[in-house]
């Protein structure tokens, strides 16, 4: 099953490689991983998407918790939560294709953020499935480049993951 794990960790050089190293050393898979400092500059927040059966996920969370730099951890998949991913996608947009692409961007509530004679650069945010749907909706030969951040996640409700 797919799990999305939120990790609060010390914002220290090497912390990220400890997480990545743990996954490769123990043969767990990482689907995506995003990380950036939080409002408290001494802490980083990481969102990690992985797959595995119950036993593997239990080991993953225990092993992550064991890392000395991990402060707190939450398996978001255990409760209601929100996931968002951002995509930058560059597509060919010649005169004849422009209207069609523009319409598609509107339907998906994306933004065109750069324009040339021959291309659009589109920014799109949403659940991973929505981004997938957009990529599928654009004709394959029009796609020049796709950059995705991987999902960031947060639990619903008033409580936060903090110290």
């Amino acid at each position: 099953m797919r799990h999305i794990i939120s990790i609060l960790m010390e914002n220290e050089a090497g912390a990220l490689s400890r997480v990545a190293g743990l996954f490769s050393a123990r043969g767990y898979n990482i689907e995506s991983l995003t990380v950036a400092p939080t409002e408290d500059a001494s802490l980083s927040r990481m969102t990690l998407v992985t797959r595995g059966d119950e036993n593997i996920i239990e080991q993953i969370t225990k092993q992550l918790n064991k890392l000395v730099e991990v402060v707190k951890l939450l398996d978001l998949s255990e409760g209601p939560h929100v996931e968002r991913e951002m995509m930058l996608i560059k597509v060919k947009a010649e005169r004849s294709q422009r209207d069609e692409i523009k319409r598609l961007v509107d339907i998906f509530r994306g933004k065109i953020i750069d324009v040339t004679d021959a291309s659009y650069l589109i920014e799109l945010t949403g659940q991973a499935s929505k981004l997938d749907a957009f990529v599928n909706a654009v004709e394959e030969e029009l796609i020049v480049e796709v950059v995705r951040t991987g999902p960031s996640g947060i639990a619903r409700g008033a409580k936060g993951l903090s110290l």
Binding site: M9, E10, A13, G14, S17, R18, G21, A25, N55, E58, Q59, K62, Q63, N65, K66, V68, E69, V70, V71, L163
Partner: protein, 572 residues
């Protein structure tokens, strides 16, 4: 107090109460060595290879419970130390390894003797640090010792660039008294509800077994384990790492379990209805095939490390906490209640176990013309009155020592269980002897293993370490030969140790006493003579039967009930 970085490193060791450091100098640690030279609280033991520095620090730690400390230079010094770090990591041994590093401005430039020590050691340390500012040394050292010794212990590497230890840059020094880390806080007590549940389960058991491991030794919980086991009257088996935590000479002890465990221990594991695992981690050499592991048992598991629980085997009552306090709580709960285990059921269980004991699974041919390794270990036990510290290397001799020495006290048996590192024994014995100057320290080794760190005979000479080396010389990598005999139709591919040195002359050339023993009737006298030489290292080259195998044996991937027994055993 104003100190340089190098002086701070040494002062931190003093403030941690570290009296012995095992090390080897080099460019990146010269400032530290200079600071070391100018004081006499911290004593330095110069090894002959950095691998030995880490193994010696490890042996020191295993035999005392105090953290071992090693100091090595950057690059090759650090890479040589890696085997010892990994060895300590696999067996959860508290250790702090200080590695020199190239000066900070050079990091990442492929400078002379630069390696990414933090990167190389990351997967085999509990934690590691790269210090980038002289003002961080004291706090980092405090953290290093705290992390190494608390919770589930383990090795911590502190990588120190040369410029950080600059003797000309002095700063005020203050060693933190306490350290609190928001991201690291080991559990201090087990959950009382779970403990009560566990006690309830134990009391309802009809065929219970205690299965206890190295965690009991590391957690200094032998006293509590003895009390609980005796209170309940249950049989107890130890893992290779747990030997000594329960007295081998006690009647409730049914021997070691696992691949080379006793028939009675493994059969009891197979038939038990309540398994009480304490400070043990369900290693594959212990469980055999998981599908056949304790098929009828409810399992209680006490461990300080949550990730050990339900890792290999799902358990019914997990308890996360230090074994010592959990066992104390179990005793309290037990004593508060009136209920005791069913004596009728236990009596039946013991009858069954005594039946298995009748197989005499550790029997061997006592009439053989050559020295049998089992006999050599029994003789060692006799001559040292079962009271020596015994270090070992890896192979058949290790298993014979584990099976036949009969450890009655914790921290007396020092071996590399998790990583199985040949070459561990001699330097580990040095660490033990440094920590226990007057004690009998024996090294049980093989002619292949001992050659992997043989250079340490020089260290033993320089530091007057009167270790007694018992080389069980079978001319083979015996353990490899045994597998080849059993599983490769006797094709002994590269397991014959050709071109052996004359060990007697070798020992003598290092300034030690060498002895060669070939006949069973000479062994006890020779050993007695060796141990009577209180202040000399004696190297006993004991020529043993080269064909002997370790029994019982469970083939990798088989169940506990599928053991090979010695050829003469009644059950074969």
């Amino acid at each position: 107090m104003e100190l340089s970085g190098a002086e701070i490193v040494i002062q931190c060791l003093k403030d941690e109460g570290v009296e012995h450091v095992f090390g080897y100098p080099g460019g990146a640690v010269l400032h530290i060595y200079d600071a070391l030279f100018q004081q006499d609280f911290v004593k330095h033991i110069l090894v002959r290879h950095e691998q030995a520095a880490t193994h010696a620090a490890d042996g020191y730690a295993r035999s005392t419970g105090k953290p071992g400390v090693a100091l090595v230079t950057s690059g090759p010094g650090a890479t040589n130390a890696v085997t010892g770090i990994a060895t300590a990591y696999m067996d959860s041994i508290p250790m702090v390894v200080l590695t020199g590093q190239v000066p900070t401005p050079f990091i990442g430039s492929d400078a002379f003797q630069e390696v990414d020590t933090v990167g190389i050691t990351r997967p085999c340390v509990k934690h590691n640090f790269l210090i980038k500012d002289v003002r961080d040394i004291a706090e980092t050292m405090k953290k290093a010792f705290y992390i190494a010794t608390s919770g589930r212990p383990g090795p911590v590497v502190v990588d120190i660039p040369k410029d950080i230890t600059d003797p000309n840059k002095k700063i005020p020094y203050d060693y933190p008294k306490k350290i609190k880390m928001r991201s690291y806080s080991p559990v201090l007590r087990g959950h009382l509800g779970q403990i009560k549940k566990a006690v309830g389960l134990m009391l309802s058991a009809e065929r219970p077994v205690f299965y206890t491991g190295g965690g009991v030794v590391l957690g200094d919980a032998s006293e509590e384990l003895r009390e609980l086991t005796r209170e309940l009257g249950f049989p107890i088996t130890n893992t290779l790492m747990g030997l000594g935590s329960y007295p081998a000479s006690d009647k409730q002890f049914i021997g070691m379990l696992g691949m080379h465990g006793t028939y009675e221990a493994n059969m009891a594991m197979h038939d038990t209805d309540v398994l009480i695992a304490i400070g043990a981690r369900f290693d594959d050499r212990v469980t055999g095939h998981i599908a056949h592991f304790c098929p009828n048992a409810k399992i209680i598991h006490v461990d300080i490390d949550p990730s050990s629980i339900s890792k290999n085997v799902r358990v019914d009552v997990p308890i996360v906490g230090p074994v010592k306090s959990v066992l104390q709580d179990m005793l309290t709960v037990l004593k508060e209640g009136k209920k005791r285990p069913s004596s009728a059921a236990l009596k039946k269980w013991w009858q069954q176990i005594d039946g298995w004991r009748g197989a005499d699974c550790l029997s061997y041919d006592r009439t053989h013309a050559q020295i049998k390794p089992q006999f050599a270990i029994e003789t060692l036990h006799k001559v040292t009155r079962g009271d020596a510290f015994v270090a070992s290397d890896v192979g058949q001799h290790q298993m014979f020592a584990a099976q036949f020495y009969g450890f009655d006290k914790p921290r007396r048996w020092v071996n590399s269980g998790g990583l199985g590192t040949m070459g561990f024994g001699l330097p580990a014995a040095m660490g033990i002897q440094i920590a226990h100057p007057g004690a009998d320290v024996a090294l049980v080794t093989g002619e292949a293993s001992v050659q992997m760190c043989i250079q340490e005979l020089a260290t033993c000479k320089q530091h007057d370490l009167p270790i007694k080396i018992l080389l069980l010389n079978n001319g083979y990598m015996g353990m490899v030969r045994q597998w080849q005999e059993f599983f490769y139709d006797g094709r002994y591919s590269h397991s014959y140790v050709d071109a052996l040195p004359d060990f007697v002359k070798l020992a003598e050339s290092f300034g030690h006493v060498g002895m060669k023993v070939e006949r069973p009737e000479d062994l006890e006298g020779a050993m007695q003579e060796a141990f009577d030489l209180k202040d000399r290292l004696v190297f006993m080259d004991v020529v043993i039967d080269p064909t002997e195998n370790v029994y019982p044996m469970i083939e990798a991937g088989k169940g506990h009930h599928e053991m090979y027994l010695p050829p003469k055993s009644e059950l074969v």
